[in-house]
């Protein structure tokens, strides 16, 4: 295997991991943009999507039905969380919302443990997802699940881009994020748009959850924690509240993690997360507002 092929292989791996971070970070960023809150329950929404698909798969339902169902289940969970936990707190201080989202996380995860136990269960995937395609005489391999991840991420991003720049609902969500008072004054249905943004962000989380579980092969009620943390980091790197920033941050983080393992000595591998978080601290010292900050007044 030549170095070029090795690098190409690692880039493919990095894009695949980065896609998942980006999908989750995108949702976090959409919600942050509107409510000025990091929705820690976002990882649990992801888990709900993965569980819905996983349970259906285990019951023999094909992925073509299981995946959309998982996405819808996640979107529905997001809508319920917004309606029950966050909407009653509209106008409350930002930190109240933040603490509430932590509480929601505990409730969902513990309900999950109560119903499904904390131990991981098998996430069956159809045989075709295990196929892999070889290039350059087998020196570069793309698995079907990687290809599917990249394809679905790309399609989601295109659809989202179209939605927020061409439709009245999408423009309305951006308007609510920019200036809620002005959004009220032009007669936008602010509550409905906030709910819509939650549904949308949660659908992305659902998709990411299913893809994550398909790659890992297992689901458990606490599976959302790690991706949430990574996506949170990605959205900080990108600049909180900036969706483009979240995407950049997600892919950057994916590349960083894969390359640390791929190009540094094997003894360093276990310290991957420590290195990533150290780099984050350094990065925040240099650019406290992130790569592309939509809200300059927000710093961590």
């Amino acid at each position: 295997m030549t170095l070029t092929e090795y690098i190409i292989q690692q880039i493919i791996n990095a894009l695949s991991l980065g896609s998942l971070y980006a999908l989750v970070a995108l949702g976090l960023s959409l919600i942050f943009g509107i409510l000025r809150m990091t929705n820690f329950a976002h990882g649990d929404v992801m888990m709900i999507g993965a569980f819905a698909t996983g349970l259906l798969s285990a019951a023999g339902v094909p992925l073509a039905i299981g995946l959309p169902t998982g996405i819808i289940a996640a979107a529905a969970a997001g809508l319920v969380i917004e309606r029950v936990a966050y909407r009653p707190l509209r106008g409350a201080p930002d930190v109240t919302l933040l603490l509430t989202s932590l509480a929601v996380t505990y409730v969902i995860e513990n309900l999950g443990i109560l119903i499904f136990t904390a131990s991981p269960r098998n996430f069956p995937i159809p045989g075709w997802l295990d196929l892999s395609f070889d290039f350059a005489d087998g020196r570069v391999t793309v698995t079907a699940i990687t290809a599917l991840t990249l394809l679905l991420t790309l399609l989601s991003l295109i659809a989202l881009g179209w939605f927020v720049s061409r439709t009245t609902a999408g423009l309305g969500m951006r308007a609510v994020a920019e200036d809620r008072i002005a959004a009220h004054l032009v007669g936008l249905n602010v509550n409905r748009l906030i709910a819509g943004a939650f549904g949308l962000a949660s659908a992305f989380a659902g998709l990411a959850g299913v893809l994550w579980a398909a790659q890992a092969g297992v689901v458990d009620p606490q599976m959302g924690f790690t991706p949430l943390l990574k996506a949170f980091v990605a959205s900080i790197i990108g600049g909180l509240g900036s969706t483009t920033g979240a995407l950049l941050g997600g892919f950057l983080l994916g590349i960083l993690e894969v390359f640390i393992v791929a190009f540094l000595p094997p003894e360093v591998g276990p310290y991957r997360d420590a290195i990533v978080f150290s780099l984050l601290i350094v990065f925040l010292l240099v650019r406290p507002a992130g790569l592309l900050n939509a809200n300059r007044e927000i710093k961590l």
Binding site: L171, D179, V186, L188
Partner: protein, 246 residues
């Protein structure tokens, strides 16, 4: 000119409206009538309650007492969305255009309560004619424009809902004097087309040139009202300004 039916009944009737911000009484029972086709100026110093009154009309804040009727319908408990639908557009202080959105998209959202897409496109075109600078900036995001240009956009955005009543809060705040006069020329043109307006404005001379009548507010109360002509020569108006919050 107001038509006969409307002349009999005010388009907007504010009766004894009170607003409290916590312990602060921002409005202490303000009454005001506005007839269709009329332009009324609200005068007074900062903190007199002018913006608060506009916010109460457009549903951003709920009055703690009194009544607001628009076209005969009580609106003091209605949400902003409903009030825009009924035909009141509020062009807020500080412009508050959607900075990250293009001029065209700002106008499109101004018509958020409307469903007639052909009519919306027609009105976008009308705004581009009324304010040629907007046509030049059509695909630019609003935050790339000067304060005065943003003010025109805010005005055009408010007009996009086809309002029967336009509430304007400090349309010349932070705008260069020359452009302030331009903005008031546009408002005069709107008035000639029959647009009913309630205008809050610091520049008394500009406001009284435009308005038919005016109300002077001081610490949450109407202390003076009358025709623009009368008030222009009334020393008490100047006193209300100079007197501060006394």
């Amino acid at each position: 000119m107001p038509n006969r039916v409307d002349a009999a009944m005010p388009l907007l009737a504010i009766e004894n409206v009170a607003v409290n911000y916590g312990a602060v009484r921002a409005l202490k029972g303000v009454s005001l009538e506005l007839f269709s086709g009329e332009v009324i100026a609200l005068l007074g110093t900062n903190g007199a309650g002018k913006s608060t009154l506009l916010r109460a009309i457009s549903g951003l804040i709920r009055p703690s007492g009194g009544g607001i009727r628009f076209a005969g319908k009580a609106i003091n408990l209605a949400p902003p969305l409903e009030i825009v639908r009924l035909g009141i557009a509020h062009c807020p202080e500080g412009r508050r255009v959607f900075g990250g959105l293009t001029v065209a998209d700002n106008l499109r959202l101004g018509a958020a309560t409307r469903k007639d897409s052909a009519g919306i496109r027609h009105d976008q075109e009308r705004m581009a004619e009324l304010f040629p600078i907007l046509r030049q900036r059509w695909r630019q995001t609003a935050n790339t424009m000067s304060g005065g240009e943003q003010q025109l956009l805010a005005l055009a955005r408010a007009l996009m809902s086809s309002p029967r009543l336009l509430l304007l809060d400090e349309p010349t705040l932070g705008v260069a004097p020359l452009l302030s006069r331009e903005i008031f020329k546009s408002l005069a043109a709107l008035k000639r087309q029959g647009t009913t307006m309630l205008v809050v404005e610091q520049n008394m001379a500009l406001a009284l040139d435009l308005a038919d009548r005016a109300y002077v507010l001081r610490t949450g109360e109407v202390v003076l009202s009358g025709s623009a002509g009368e008030l222009r020569n009334d020393d008490r108006v100047a006193q209300a300004y100079l007197g501060g919050r006394g």
